[in-house]
C-alpha cells in the first residue's frame, strides 16, 4: 500500500532505532496523546524496538475513553424513546453508563445503528422522516468537522429530524491540564490527525509556555519512531519546539475549510472528561443558530441519570493522565477485560488498557 508500506518495514524501523540508541543520554518519558498512536505503538510492538531509557505514556486522546458517564446516560435516555434512531461510531455502544450501556438497550430493542460517517446519519434521517435520528458526535478535531458538515447539510436540505448529541472535545486544553497536573513528561507525541485539521501551531504554547517538546507524528511505526528521535534530540539540546514529523499530511495552518466549518457550527465550552474531570473550554457545543439540530432539545422533560460511581479500584483516571500504567491496576485483565470492561480505557481499541491487554506480553 502506497504511503503505508514504506513507513512500516523492519529495515527502516531498525535504522531509526539505531539512531535513537545513539542519541540516548538519560531516561525520557514521552506521552503519546492520541489513542491512535497508543494502538499503533502496541500493534507494531514498538516498545520492543526502543532502548529501555525511553518510556512511553498513554494520554487522554481516546475519544471513547474520555466520554463521561453523563453523556452515555443521555444517549441511553434518547435511545429509549420509541421514535428515535441512535447512530454512533462503533466502540461507544459498549461503554458502560450508570445503569446500562447502549449495547444493552440495543439488545432490549432500541434502534441503534453503527455508522462510519455523520453524513450516513443524515441520509438515514432523510430516509426515515417519521423518526428522530440522533448522531452521537464524539471525538476530537478529527471528527468534529464531519459532524459540523452533517449539521449544515441537514439544515440546507431541510432535514428537520436529524439531531446531534455533541460530546466533541478539543485536544490542547487537555494537554495543558495534564501539564498542570504535574505528570512527569519530557515531551508530547502530538496527534497527527488532529493537527491535520487544526495545524501544528495550536501546540506552539506547549514549548513556549511550558518548555516541553512537541512533535506531530504520523501513525506508522517509522513515523512514531522518528518522532521519538526528534523529541530525544530536543531534550538533549534543551531546545523544545513544536515540530512536524507528519509533514506529508500536516501543515502549520491546518485545514482552513474544516476549521471554518467547525467555527460556524460549534462554540467552545467547559467539558467533562471521564477520569479527568472538568476542563475549561475543552468541549464543543452547538451554536444557537443550529439549535434545531441539537439533541439536547430532545432531552427536555426526560431525566437521564447523572454521574454514577465508577468502580473504586478502576485506575482509568490515573491512566488517562499518564500517571499509572494499565498493569498497575488491580482490575486489569482480571475482572476488567475487553469482554467485560469496568473502565472506559478497556472498551475502545484505542484505549490504553485495551491495547495493553491485546498486545503486550508482560502486562497480561
Amino acid at each position: 500500500m502506497k504511503f503505508i508500506s514504506e513507513y512500516r518495514g523492519s529495515e527502516a524501523t531498525e535504522a531509526v532505532a539505531k539512531a535513537i540508541r545513539r542519541e540516548v543520554r538519560r531516561s525520557y518519558s514521552f506521552m503519546e496523546v492520541c489513542g491512535g498512536h497508543t494502538a499503533a505503538i502496541h500493534r507494531f510492538g514498538i516498545p520492543s524496538l526502543l532502548p529501555p531509557e525511553i518510556n512511553l505514556l498513554s494520554g487522554p486522546g481516546c475519544p471513547v475513553c474520555v466520554t463521561p458517564v453523563s453523556y452515555i446516560n443521555r444517549a441511553v435516555t434518547l435511545s429509549l424513546e420509541s421514535e428515535s434512531i441512535i447512530t454512533t461510531f462503533g466502540d461507544l455502544i459498549r461503554v458502560p453508563g450508570t445503569n446500562t450501556s447502549l449495547e444493552q438497550t440495543k439488545a432490549a430493542g432500541a434502534d441503534i445503528r453503527i455508522v462510519i460517517s455523520a453524513l450516513d446519519a443524515v441520509a438515514l434521517a432523510a430516509a426515515n422522516p417519521g423518526k428522530k435520528v440522533v448522531f452521537l458526535g464524539i471525538g476530537f478535531e478529527t471528527t468534529a468537522p464531519g459532524t459540523a458538515a452533517a449539521i449544515i447539510r441537514a439544515s440546507e436540505k431541510g432535514i428537520k429530524n436529524f439531531f446531534v448529541l455533541s460530546g466533541h472535545k478539543i485536544m490542547p486544553p487537555a494537554m495543558e491540564a495534564i501539564i498542570h497536573d504535574g505528570t512527569a513528561i519530557d515531551g508530547f507525541i502530538c496527534p497527527g490527525h488532529v493537527a491535520a485539521i487544526t495545524g501544528s501551531s495550536v501546540f506552539d504554547f506547549i514549548p513556549g509556555r511550558y518548555g516541553l517538546g512537541c512533535v506531530v507524528s504520523g501513525f506508522e511505526p517509522v513515523d512514531i519512531m522518528l518522532s521519538i528521535l526528534m523529541l530525544v534530540k530536543q531534550v538533549n539540546n534543551s531546545a523544545p519546539a513544536c515540530e512536524i514529523q507528519y509533514s506529508r499530511v500536516v501543515t502549520r495552518e491546518g485545514n482552513l475549510k474544516a476549521r471554518e466549518i467547525m467555527e460556524r457550527v460549534f462554540l467552545t465550552e467547559d467539558s467533562e472528561w471521564r477520569g479527568i474531570g472538568k476542563i475549561n473550554t475543552s468541549g464543543l457545543g452547538i451554536r444557537d443558530a443550529w439549535k434545531d439540530h441539537d439533541a439536547l432539545s430532545l432531552l427536555r422533560g426526560l431525566q437521564p441519570g447523572e454521574e454514577g460511581e465508577e468502580n473504586r479500584f478502576c485506575l482509568c483516571s490515573e491512566i488517562l493522565r499518564g500517571r499509572r500504567r494499565p498493569s498497575d491496576c488491580r482490575l486489569f485483565a482480571k475482572t476488567c477485560t475487553p469482554e467485560n470492561p469496568e473502565g472506559a480505557c478497556m472498551v475502545s481499541s484505542e484505549g490504553a488498557c485495551n491495547a495493553y491487554y491485546r498486545f503486550k506480553r508482560d502486562a497480561v
Binding site: 500500500m1 503505508i4 512500516r8 518495514g9 523492519s10 524501523t13 531498525e14 492520541c34 489513542g35 491512535g36 494502538a39 502496541h42 500493534r43 507494531f44 510492538g45 514498538i46 516498545p47 520492543s48 524496538l49 475519544p63 471513547v64 461510531f89 462503533g90 466502540d91 461507544l92 459498549r94 445503528r113 453503527i114 462510519i116 460517517s117 450516513d120 464524539i138 471525538g139 476530537f140 478529527t142 471528527t143 490527525h193 511505526p221 517509522v222 477485560t337 475487553p338 469482554e339 475502545s348 481499541s349 484505542e350 485495551n354 491487554y357 491485546r358 498486545f359 503486550k360 506480553r361 497480561v364
Partner: protein, 329 residues
C-alpha cells in the same frame, strides 16, 4: 406458508427444488442408507445464517456445503455424504431458493460429495431471516491422519503454513451488507478444500495438524493451537498473506485481517523436514496458490502466540475480544 405444511406443496418443494438438484433418486424416505466401509467415520454438523444470503463469491448454499466439507477435510477425512436442512421464511423467493440449491449442487460436484437426505420447514414471516441451512456430513477417516485435528502430533520446530490470503470472506460479506458505505470488488474465498487436503494426504506428507480458518480468523486458530499443544507459537507478520485490497479496507475501518473469518483457508502444521513439499503441493492447487509459511512451534511451553510485526517489533497475538468494530478517529 403452505410449503411448510407437510402436504403436497411440501413434497413439490422438496422434489422440484432440492431432490432434482442433489441427484436424489427413487422414493424420498425418512432416512438414507449409506455404506460404511471404514472402521471410523467422521461426523460433523454446522448451521449457516449468513446475512446477506447472496454475497460476492458465493451464497448461503455454497457456504453450507463448503463449510461442512472443510470441517471433514481438516479432520483428515474423505467427505462422503451430506444432510441438509432448510428453515425458510415465508415469502422467500422460490427463484432464490433455486439458485441456492443450484450452488449447493455445484459445490457438491466440485467436492465429490452428495446430499443424501434433508428436511425443509417454512416459518412465518419475521420468524427467520430469508433462509437458514444446517448441513451435517460424514467422511471416511484416514487412519494415518486421524489425530490431525487434535494437535497431539504437533512437536517443537514444526512449521506453520497458511493455505492462502486472509480476510476476503469477511470483507466481501461486510461490503454486501451495505451497512457500511464502501464498495469493493473483493469476493469471498468460499470453496471446498477437500481436494487440496486430499492431495497432501495422498502424497503421505508429514501433516501434523489442520484447522480451517473460519470465525475468529488466524489469530484465534493459533491461540487454540497454543492451548491444545501447550507450546508457544512464533509467527512472522511479513509471511502472512493478505491481499492488497483487503489490507486497504482493514486500514480504513480499523480491522485486523488476522481476526477476520475465511471460508476457504486452512492452517497446516507440518514436520520441519516436509514443510517445503507441503507448501509446493498446496501451491499447485487452485485454492492454495498463495500458500505461505507463517511461523513455527517453539520449544517453550507458555501457550502464547507471539508475533514479529512488519515493523520488526514483537507483540502477542491475543484472542479476539468482542467484535471487531470500526475505529472512530
Amino acid at each position: 406458508m403452505g410449503h411448510g405444511s407437510g402436504g403436497k406443496l411440501t413434497s413439490e418443494l422438496v422434489r422440484d427444488i432440492f431432490a432434482k438438484r442433489f441427484g436424489m433418486k427413487g422414493p424420498l424416505t425418512d432416512s438414507s442408507i449409506i455404506s460404511a466401509e471404514a472402521k471410523e467415520i467422521a461426523f460433523t454438523t454446522d448451521s449457516y445464517v449468513v446475512d446477506p444470503v447472496f454475497f460476492p463469491g458465493g451464497d448461503i448454499g455454497k457456504l453450507s456445503v463448503c463449510g461442512t466439507v472443510n470441517d471433514l477435510a481438516v479432520a483428515g477425512a474423505i467427505p462422503l455424504s451430506l444432510a441438509a436442512s432448510f428453515i425458510i421464511e415465508e415469502g422467500f423467493e422460490i427463484s432464490s431458493l433455486e439458485t441456492i440449491a443450484g450452488s449447493m449442487a455445484a459445490a457438491c460436484l466440485e467436492a465429490g460429495v452428495s446430499v443424501v437426505t434433508g428436511d425443509t420447514k417454512v416459518v412465518e414471516k419475521g420468524k427467520a431471516d430469508g433462509v437458514f441451512i444446517t448441513t451435517s456430513g460424514t467422511g471416511l477417516v484416514r487412519q494415518a491422519y486421524r489425530e490431525a485435528g487434535t494437535g497431539k502430533m504437533v512437536r517443537p520446530g514444526d512449521i506453520l503454513i497458511v493455505s492462502g490470503s486472509l480476510g476476503n470472506h469477511s470483507i466481501a460479506v461486510m461490503a454486501a451488507r451495505k451497512q457500511l458505505s464502501f464498495a469493493t470488488d473483493i469476493v469471498s474465498d468460499c470453496a471446498p478444500l477437500n481436494n487440496m487436503t486430499g492431495k497432501l494426504l495422498d502424497a503421505g506428507t508429514d501433516i501434523r495438524f489442520m484447522r480451517d480458518i473460519t470465525r475468529g480468523g488466524l489469530a484465534t486458530v493459533l491461540n487454540e493451537l497454543a492451548q491444545m499443544t501447550g507450546y508457544d507459537i512464533h509467527v512472522e507478520e511479513t509471511g502472512i498473506p493478505v491481499d492488497e485490497p483487503v489490507k486497504g479496507i482493514c486500514e480504513m475501518l480499523g480491522l485486523d485481517p488476522l481476526y477476520l473469518a475465511n471460508e476457504g483457508k486452512i492452517l497446516f502444521v507440518a514436520g520441519p523436514g516436509d514443510a517445503e513439499r507441503v507448501t509446493k503441493i498446496l501451491r499447485s492447487d487452485p485454492f492454495g496458490r498463495n500458500a505461505s509459511v507463517v511461523g513455527r512451534i517453539t520449544e517453550t511451553k507458555g501457550k502464547t502466540v507471539e508475533m514479529k510485526t512488519v515493523a520488526g517489533g514483537s507483540r502477542i497475538l491475543g484472542q479476539l475480544s468482542g467484535l471487531q468494530l470500526p475505529r472512530i478517529c
